[in-house]
């Protein structure tokens, strides 16, 4: 696709830094990144994957419940239209309709494809891929492997990537995206192991960096979730949408303190678990919103019958979308009906046999046994909300994953629009596959369409500037400890930009974030460049601070409550806001915010919402 003339543009930099030329560079090796790289490779592009951790350790590995796909293996009535409708309603109609449509249509093929690459899903009696119940999904729809579906998915993709011989740069962090005029021309990064810099010359970058959860105190996310892709995109001139929508998963572990935030899969509820307060009451019946009344059971009897007979019964309220359940738990705790350690109870022990629980939820059993001395087959779990997912992300073209910057693509959690104001469980793994593939293919096509004479070039000056910026923390003496700033940032976001928000607190958060940004200009790191986590954090912090500001600004602007954004001072949803996205861009360190109407759904899809 290219020839030797594309090498060595960053001539003077090449002497200082190793340099590699590709057609497509994918940043991130979770589900979206791996799927994108496979697609780009299959389309003939010279492809590289760059990831902060070892291959196979990305956050996708933590996904438990399953991959949502309307395969109809258990319920032939299921179809992409039903899945599409569930997804849009779960996102309170703020989703990009085209993304939700493509997602629902293509997810079944993406799951079957995984099976063709070696994945071993649990089976139905007929030998087909089994599907399980999850919140907000009308039918049992999640393809799964016990409660370790993410591990199965990442291992399958990882092994396929290895079989294809795609280049992987492990433990390598990208800190800058280069442009030639308005187009992407490359990326700059460092090897975590040695601290040495490297330059990628590439006309396309696919961001697949995941989310932002590490900016919160209580989170299910790993250290990698520092909003790198969100920040890289903004600095490269792309726009973010929906950043006010942060998903707090209703069920995270809360005790002992060291495990606070670790995820307890929604499958516990999908498989029959119920939420109870300190009075033993199944309180979710008290929190069924008008929007979901028609499809939610209002008695325990009906709810319990639903597991076996979905035709004549409605869904238990424990399986409302995550935003509803998280808010309900929050209210119970605030009303003084919480558990001893400040959560509520999640009980499957009294409802399912020991054998069933251990077979369906082996890793939950293991996790509680090992980390909390709790036997979930014998007693209830104590759980509470934990920061889990950001619906907001890079604004992309639905069909191609292209951002507004030519050559820059995004897929998976780092992309915005697909999930609207709230993501349904199970829709993330399918999102990664559907849009990872699309971004990979389209970045490869973009690279192929470029004439060799028009390949963008990396300017030597930009490389030097990126290197200087990355080394800056070593030259400051007597500055702040990056770990302290991260700790303070997490406190600000947790306290002031958490599940329930209000104007005064959001305004205060912006002041706090400004102060933190000022402090972060003078970070000091100890030691040298070789595998130095303090230095790595110092560089990640600027991303966390920028993205946190975007969340707080967008949250302050949207004066309504919808999905993963709840305003105490505006508790109702507002139809005017229901038709708008908040769009964020950055220039010279300043974040600019605009409002933009949602894309209009065509009539034939709109009709899907009229019935029932």
């Amino acid at each position: 696709m290219t020839d030797a003339s594309t090498h060595g543009h960053a001539q003077s930099s090449q002497q200082r830094f190793e340099s590699h030329a590709y057609d497509v560079v994918v940043i991130g090796a979770g589900g979206a990144g791996l799927r994108a790289a496979i697609a780009a490779h299959d389309a003939g592009a010279r492809t590289a994957i760059v990831c902060k951790s070892l291959l196979g350790k990305a956050h996708t590995v933590m996904a438990e419940g399953g991959i949502a796909a309307a395969m109809g293996n258990l319920y032939p009535d299921d179809s992409w239209q039903v899945h599409f409708r569930d997804t849009m309603r779960g996102g309170k109609m703020l989703n990009n309709w085209r993304m939700a449509q493509l997602h629902a249509q293509e997810a079944p093929d993406r799951v079957l494809e995984l099976e063709g690459w070696g994945a071993l899903f649990d089976r139905t009696g007929d030998g087909l891929i089994s599907q399980r119940d999850f919140g907000g999904h009308r039918f049992a729809r999640l393809a799964h492997v016990g409660d370790r579906t993410g591990l199965e998915m990442i291992r399958t993709l990882q092994q396929h990537v290895v079989a294809l011989g795609i280049d992987v740069y492990m433990e390598c962090t990208v800190t800058d995206i280069f442009k030639d005029g308005d187009r992407v021309s490359g990326a700059f990064g460092y090897w975590r192991e040695s601290g040495r810099f490297l330059v990628f010359e590439t006309p396309t970058v696919v961001l697949a960096t995941g989310g932002i959860g590490k900016s919160y105190q209580v989170t299910s996310n790993s250290w990698e979730y520092t909003g790198d892709g969100h920040a890289l995109a903004m600095r490269a001139g792309a726009s973010l949408i929906n950043m006010e929508f942060v998903q707090f998963h209703p069920t995270g572990m809360i005790w002992p303190p060291s495990v606070k935030g670790i995820l307890v899969t929604e499958s516990v509820r999908g498989d029959g678990g119920v939420l109870k307060n300190s009075e033993g009451r199944r309180f979710m019946f008290d929190y069924i919103p008008e929007f979901f009344k028609a499809e939610t059971a209002d008695t325990e009897d009906e709810a319990d019958r639903w597991y076996d007979d979905k035709k004549s019964n409605r869904r238990p309220p424990e399986l409302l979308p995550r935003d509803e359940v998280a808010r309900a738990i929050n209210s119970e705790i605030k009303a003084g009906r919480g558990s001893p350690h400040g959560g509520v109870f999640l009980d499957i022990a009294s409802r399912r046999s020991t054998e069933f629980i251990r077979r369906r939820l082996p890793s939950m059993y293991h996790q509680f046994k090992e980390l909390a001395d709790v036997d979930i087959t014998a007693e209830a779990m104590e759980i509470g909300p934990t920061c889990h997912y950001v619906m907001g992300g890079v604004e992309v073209d639905a069909d191609t994953g292209a951002s507004i910057v030519p050559g820059l693509y995004a897929a998976g959690e780092v992309a915005g629009g697909m999930h609207g104001s709230n993501r349904l469980g199970g829709n993330s793994l399918s999102d990664l596959l559907v849009f990872g593939r699309r971004a990979g293919l389209n970045s490869a096509y973009y690279a192929r369409r470029l004439p060799a004479t028009r390949r963008p070039r990396v300017a030597a000056g930009a490389v030097e500037a990126a290197a200087d910026a990355a080394l800056a923390p070593f030259s400051v003496e007597g500055g702040e400890n990056p770990y302290t700033i991260q700790h303070d940032l997490q406190e600000v976001m947790q306290q002031l930009v958490g599940i329930i928000r209000k104007r005064e607190e959001l305004t205060e958060s912006l002041e706090e974030l400004k102060a933190l940004r000022e402090r972060a200009r003078h970070l000091t790191v100890e030691g040298h460049r070789q595998y130095n986590p303090g230095w790595h954090l110092a560089l990640d912090l600027s991303n966390m601070l920028l993205v946190s500001e975007c969340i707080a600004r967008a949250a302050l602007t949207r004066e309504e409550s919808r999905g993963g954004h709840t305003r105490d001072d505006f508790p109702m949803s507002d139809d005017t806001w229901g038709g708008k996205n908040v769009v964020l861009t950055e220039a010279d360190g300043e974040v600019t915010l605009t409002q933009q109407p949602l894309p209009v759904m065509p009539e034939e899809l709109r009709r899907l919402f009229e019935v029932k």
Binding site: G56, G116, G118, D122, G127, S258, Q530
Partner: protein
Amino acid sequence: MGYDLSLRVWRGDRNGGELVDFGVPVEEGEVVLDAIHRLQATQVGDLAVRWNCKAGKCGSCSAEINGRPRLMCMTRLSDFDKSETITVTPVRTFPVVRDLVTDVSFNYEKAKQVPAFAPTPPDADGKRRMSQREVERGQEFRKCIECFLCQDVCHVIRDHDDNKPAFAGPRFFLRYAELDMHPLDTNDRRKLAQDTAGISMCNITKCCTEVCPENIKITDNAIIPMKERVADRKYDPLVWLGSKIFRRDQREET
């Protein structure tokens, strides 16, 4: 409640290093990784350690804790006496990069040598059919989180670097076995398991099974059946011995 933990951590790099003593305040219910993180955040900002999920699912934080290969995130401080010094060292089988981080590229190189999954074509409706019983065998092996503790503890390579080129290690015997037992796979990897992966060098001491945080029966369910598939039993005395030592109901028959 909280107390001051005596923590002894190996610090150094390829050129050598030493055990360094620290006092770290810890809380009830914490794990070794919590103590390491607190040490990093408050005393030694550049302490190198790998971790990701902190929930026993990603297999990144492997180390040797008081000499035992373990995941730091799944090792609770309450397993130790409060007065006991906890010593954390990098896994020994792989070369040190820095502090607790080792160069595990051996495993990624070995992964490249495993021939890919090659399935039969799907049924006419585009779907594939397998029974739950058929997939469960492979599912046990696919629980592997690639913490490489089985590789770390394996006698064949732990203190014998010279065996590394010819020996893939328990993690990859698991992979060979998984593919070999996959109901839809068409490749025959038995000769490769012998020639390239060196499965015959394994002398079934079961150390790998003992350290597996996922409780995969690596030796009984993967290695021994694979050995049986590879070699005619009468030519491999260890397999013959294994069949005498381990009860039949603890093994998967081919």
